[in-house]
């Protein structure tokens, strides 16, 4: 069986790395990293985006070969040259993006690669029996005949964990496993991880969420700029110290101003129902009101209609039922508005997916700074490099975008700086309405501060802001009112003052009562 057969060589850490170095071109992703992961424990690896956590995990799992350094698994020097080697040594990994075939059942996904023979029948029966006992043992209940496509995200993750355990994993690496989970699902995941630990397994949890590390890990390693900068027992540290280690300086919270006087309604949506081209109902009777100088946050597990709402309000997809009132215009199925028209009416939009939508990555940063703003690109029908440079330079200065060279292609900037390019562009003229999709996703902690301060400044200057975020901390830090979405519906709208993560979490899963506010 997976966990109880492992060698119990006392004193040997489950994984030991010495001097591991990995370089990608000019980037030193891992710089002389030493790491000891104790047996039978939950060990956290934390760090900002780009600190080298995922690279390190990929090295342990055999996806990358280190340039230098050595690795021992269970006290044995182990050349792990491929994931197959890693699996053979008892290392399993659950990736951030699930590696499941959505049109296969749970059972089919688990037997993928170990079908056992030409005909499926016998192998399937064996695997079904072993799967049932494994599920019971770890409290990982999943219907083996359910189609993966029909499962909620939390269950898909269980399938991934089951698959790793099924292949004999005694050391389980999870890369940012909670990004897609509700608070409730996160708690369930942690229960499962504790169960694996109690059965003698080792869990490596890679995350940037400090609260989770404090909640579930016994020990934690902190990475910064590719280096290991600290190791702590969670019982002897706190989130403030860990955050400082991660960032390399003290981190403050953006000063939250007292509730400003709420202005007049700027944008109203009512009865918005929207179906995807495939006919799936994505939004049901959504109504909302954005007011000047106010931040309305949309909370919810991703995939519950938030993205569709942003597309609808920005003009990217057409209104089908219901209507939107904005700047004296009524937009409905018979009177659509294009993204260009919405922009002209005073709408700005920071899209959720900055790499595919918010930026044209091969374009120079200054070309990206005029995306959607052709009037800034040059006179008449012409584009002018000088005009674009003149437009980009103050934006770069204001948002401290690095490197401060607008001539570089957008692809050459880090995730945080790419996001700053988008924000600088959209914040440039104080927009009447700002749609803000996942403004700090994949952005390092230091930059999050700057972004939050700019958002609050924009609100002070009278913009009506719709913030869509999957980070409850962010919503609680910024919002004046919080609208929770679940299954394409508005589950409820509550004032931010007094709202708790627990209350919102219940509403996200459809269990809470939605009081109108």
């Amino acid at each position: 069986m997976a966990l109880d057969g492992g060698p119990e060589q006392a004193g040997h850490p489950a994984v030991r790395l010495r001097g591991v170095t990995k370089r990608f071109g000019a980037v030193l992703a891992n710089d002389d990293v030493d790491l000891d992961i104790p047996q039978g424990a939950i060990h956290g690896i934390i760090g900002e985006n780009g600190a080298g956590k995922s690279t390190l995990a990929s090295i342990i799992y055999g996806l990358y070969a280190p340039d230098r350094g050595s690795m021992e698994i269970d006290g044995e020097a182990a050349p792990v040259r491929s994931p197959a080697d890693a699996i053979a040594r008892g290392v399993g990994m659950v990736h951030q993006h699930f590696m499941l075939v959505p049109t296969f059942t749970v059972l089919e996904n688990i037997m993928l690669g170990m079908e056992g023979g030409f005909l499926l029948g016998q192998g399937e029966a064996d695997i079904r029996a072993r799967l049932a006992s494994l599920s019971r043992q770890h409290g990982l209940e999943v219907d083996p005949d359910a189609l993966v496509d029909d499962l909620p995200v939390g269950l898909r993750q269980r399938v991934e964990i089951l698959r790793a355990l099924f292949r004999g994993a005694r050391i389980l690496i999870l890369d940012e496993p909670t990004g897609v989970l509700t608070p409730d699902e996160t708690d369930q995941l942690f229960t499962i991880l504790r169960g694996i630990r109690d059965a003698g397994g080792t869990v490596v949890l890679i995350t940037h969420k400090l609260r989770e590390v404090m909640a579930v890990c016994g020990t934690v390693s902190v990475m910064r700029h590719g280096r290991m900068v600290g190791r702590r027992e969670t019982a002897e540290t706190n989130t403030a110290e860990l955050a400082e280690l991660m960032v390399g300086r003290t981190v403050g919270q953006a000063e939250r101003p007292a509730q400003s006087v709420v202005g007049t309604p700027v944008l109203r949506g009512a009865g918005l129902t929207w179906r995807s081209p495939g006919g799936t109902l994505r939004l049901r009777e959504v109504g909302l009101e954005l007011r000047a100088g106010e931040i309305l946050a949309v909370a919810g597990v991703s995939g519950n209609g938030q993205s569709e709402l942003l597309d609808l309000l920005s003009g990217l997809s057409g209104v089908q039922e219901g209507h939107v009132e904005f700047a004296g215009r009524r937009i409905d199925a018979a009177h659509p508005a294009t993204p260009a028209e919405m922009r002209a009416l005073g709408l700005a939009h920071v899209p959720e997916d900055r790499q595919r939508r918010g930026l044209v990555l091969p374009f120079e940063a200054r070309e990206n700074a005029v995306l959607g703003r052709p009037e800034k690109a040059g006179p008449g029908p012409w584009t002018s490099a000088a005009a674009m440079q003149a437009h980009a330079e103050p934006l770069f200065a204001r948002f401290d975008i690095r490197p401060p060279d607008p001539k570089l292609p957008a692809a050459g900037f880090s995730g945080g700086n790419q996001q700053k390019i988008v924000l600088a562009r959209e914040f440039d003229t104080v927009p009447a309405v700002l749609l803000l999709g996942q403004p700090t996703r994949g952005v390092d902690i230091g930059t999050v501060e700057t972004i939050h301060a700019e958002v609050l400044a924009l609100k002070e200057r009278g913009s009506a802001i719709l913030l869509v975020s999957t980070e409850l901390d962010e919503i609680l830090a910024l919002a004046d009112r919080i609208m929770v979405m679940n299954g394409g519906r508005v589950a409820g709208t509550v004032p931010a003052a007094g709202a708790t993560a627990r209350q919102l979490g219940l509403m996200m899963t459809g269990a809470g009562d939605g009081a109108a506010a």
Binding site: G25, S314, L316, T338, P339, G358, V360, F363, W382, T383
Partner: protein, 364 residues
């Protein structure tokens, strides 16, 4: 794919590909029993000797137009495989104008109208697949290929019937009058007091150079070009930016078709002075390889066009000089160049990157 710095992608890679193509060609030549060095000497001489240069540039003119057509569409990630048919239609437009108006309007005016007609007919033939792609989701590769067959059929029907030269059995129109022909460059040169060898090279070569400049300005100096490039890199981002993607796709195809149609200026208005069957002779397809080799940049396309022009002209020369090298073998050499610098253009990218970049990284 490994990303190469610009100097490698534009400067080194094409040279490496070209060298390999000639290496492979040398093997073929050696196999048929000729000395490769001697053969390439004849090839070069055949392409660039004083009397031959005009022919090389005349072939290059065709490649410039069809190469630009492919490149312009490709800026918006549209594969226009239909330059062949669009060129045929361009020729039809010229014939239509010349045959209808040469008797009633002054010559220069007819020529200007004919140029406009070549562009318009070519554009119209490309707009239909463009519209179908943008508004109905029909794949542009399929539709443009289909439209080549349609154009070909249309030409056969017209040239063997309605517009065939009266009293004759070959599929061509009657000759246009002298007043409605594009002047040959050797005639123009003589007018200016130079003596130049006779060749089919005509005024449309200058038009081709102008077209290169115009396409460069359009793509890199106008907001429309910005929109096209944005669509090409990320249609999502273009839609987000409020660019009317569908309309831009149709306009891009119209411009691409117009450029392809202009190929007929060289062949029909400049050289043949009558509409003949199959005058496009594969230039439309080779234009795709030209665009690929020229990295979709007008300067690159000009250089690639000169290379292909030289191969066409020099290849014809081989035929005369060597008994064992037939026309087909000349085609093999051309094919190898297309294969290595077109279809396999990026085959050596990873090796080059490792060879040249790891060394510079070690130095850094």
């Amino acid at each position: 794919m490994t990303a190469l710095p610009r100097w490698l992608d534009i400067g080194v890679l094409p040279v490496v590909n070209l060298a390999l193509a000639f290496l492979a060609a040398a093997v073929v030549v050696a196999l048929v029993g000729e000395d490769p060095l001697e053969v390439f000497g004849v090839l070069l001489q055949g392409a660039f000797a004083p009397g031959a240069l005009g022919y090389t540039l005349y072939y290059a003119t065709n490649f410039v137009f069809t190469g630009l057509a492919a490149a312009l569409a490709f800026q918006a990630r549209l594969f226009n495989i239909g330059a062949e048919g669009q060129a045929m239609l361009g020729g039809l437009g010229i014939a239509f104008v010349c045959l209808s108006f040469e008797a009633v309007l002054p010559g220069p005016l007819v020529v200007i109208l004919a140029i406009a007609a070549a562009a318009l007919f070519g554009a119209a033939w490309a707009v239909v697949p463009g519209w179908l792609q943008a508004y109905r989701g029909s794949h542009i590769v399929i539709t443009t290929i289909m439209f080549n067959f349609l154009a070909s059929g249309l030409m056969v029907w017209l040239l063997s019937g309605p517009i065939m030269r009266p009293g004759q059995g070959s599929p061509q129109t009657r000759l246009f009058g002298e007043a409605v022909q594009l002047p040959a460059l050797h005639d123009l040169a003589r007018g200016l007091g130079f003596e130049a060898a006779r060749s089919p090279l005509n005024l449309s070569f200058l038009f081709a150079l102008l077209a290169c400049a115009a396409v460069w300005v359009l793509i890199w100096r106008t907001k429309f070009g910005y929109a096209l490039r944005a669509i090409g890199h990320s249609e999502e981002a273009a839609r987000y930016a409020g660019i009317p993607v569908r309309r831009a796709v149709v306009v891009a195809m119209a411009l691409s078709g117009a450029l392809a149609g202009c190929m007929a200026l060289n062949e029909i208005l400049g050289v043949q002075h009558k509409l003949v069957l199959n005058f496009s002779a594969g230039y439309g397809f080779t234009g795709i390889a030209v665009a690929l080799m020229g990295r979709n940049h007008p300067a690159g396309i000009l250089a690639a066009s000169l290379l292909f022009g030289a191969l066409f002209q020099g290849g014809a020369e081989l035929n005369f000089e060597f008994e064992t090298i037939t026309h087909e073998l000349a085609l093999v050499i051309q094919g190898l160049v297309i294969l290595f610098s077109g279809a396999l253009a990026y085959m050596f990218t990873p090796w080059l990157a490792r060879l040249l970049l790891s060394r510079s990284a070690a130095r850094a």
